[in-house]
């Protein structure tokens, strides 16, 4: 099935299931530079009780789970606008409540960021969605492929999981 035929996709972070699903739908994976699709996968931070978190550890989790994601989105939106075309941006991470307080803060903020960017860039044809899940399998890959495809043209600003535990 060529849902993503003719589209280039950049995956920042590691998620073999998503890479496999995107390629299977015809997307051409690129390592860097401009792309039609951008997927950002954040590795979950180590789980520590809140009272044991140092300020540096807190900042590192917020940086990886929020700051870097925003900066990448901004870069993606600027490039898409300059190219005069839309694009699809997808954030992938662990569920909000699954890890420590640092991840909970980053993932909670990411939800609001997703909604705001989704609306702010809707008219430019740039869609922004998030999957927060503990799952790493085939359904995650297929859901990601759907969300970055034109079949999901009406889905933006959405934050969703995969299973009931998400």
């Amino acid at each position: 099935m060529g849902w993503l035929a003719g589209k280039s996709a950049r995956i920042v972070g590691d998620c073999p299931a998503i890479a496999k699903a995107l390629e299977a739908r015809g997307a051409r994976l690129v390592a860097d530079g401009a792309s039609d699709i951008l997927v950002h996968v954040a590795a979950p931070p180590a789980v520590k009780p809140a009272h044991e978190l140092s300020h540096d550890e807190w900042r590192a989790a917020l940086d990886a789970g929020l700051d870097q994601r925003f900066l990448l989105a901004k870069e993606f939106a600027i490039a898409s606008r300059e190219a005069g075309k839309g694009g699809a941006l997808l954030y992938v991470g662990a569920p909000e409540q699954a890890l420590g307080s640092d991840h909970a803060a980053a993932a909670g903020a990411l939800g609001n960021l997703t909604k705001t960017l989704g609306v702010e860039w809707a008219r430019d044809g740039i869609r922004v969605n998030t999957i927060l899940t503990s799952q790493v399998g085939e359904t995650l890959g297929n859901l990601a492929a759907y969300l970055v495809s034109d079949y999901a043209a009406y889905v933006t600003g959405a934050v969703m999981g995969v299973g009931l535990d998400d």
């Binding site: 609306v119 008219r123 799952q135 085939e138 999901a152 009406y154 969703m160 999981g161 995969v162 299973g163």
Partner: protein, 67 residues
């Protein structure tokens, strides 16, 4: 003038049906308990600084062009 919200629902773009169909296939076998809104972000607009909503299929340069 942008189409009113009820117009968007009334026209039922095929995107709605496509995803409904996908949820019934093995592709999304483990997807459950999720609420997925397909409204192009319209329901998320909260402030006047947010741009007017234009349904994807009504954008001249939308993903499906003029189809």
């Amino acid at each position: 003038m942008p189409a009113p919200a009820h117009h968007i629902v009334a026209t039922q773009p095929p995107e709605f049906g496509w995803f409904s169909a996908m949820t019934r296939t093995p592709m999304l076998a483990r997807l459950t308990g999720q609420v997925i809104v397909q409204d192009g972000g319209e329901s998320l607009r909260r402030s006047l600084m947010m741009p007017d909503f234009v349904p994807p299929r009504e954008r001249a340069d939308g993903p499906w062009g003029w189809q």
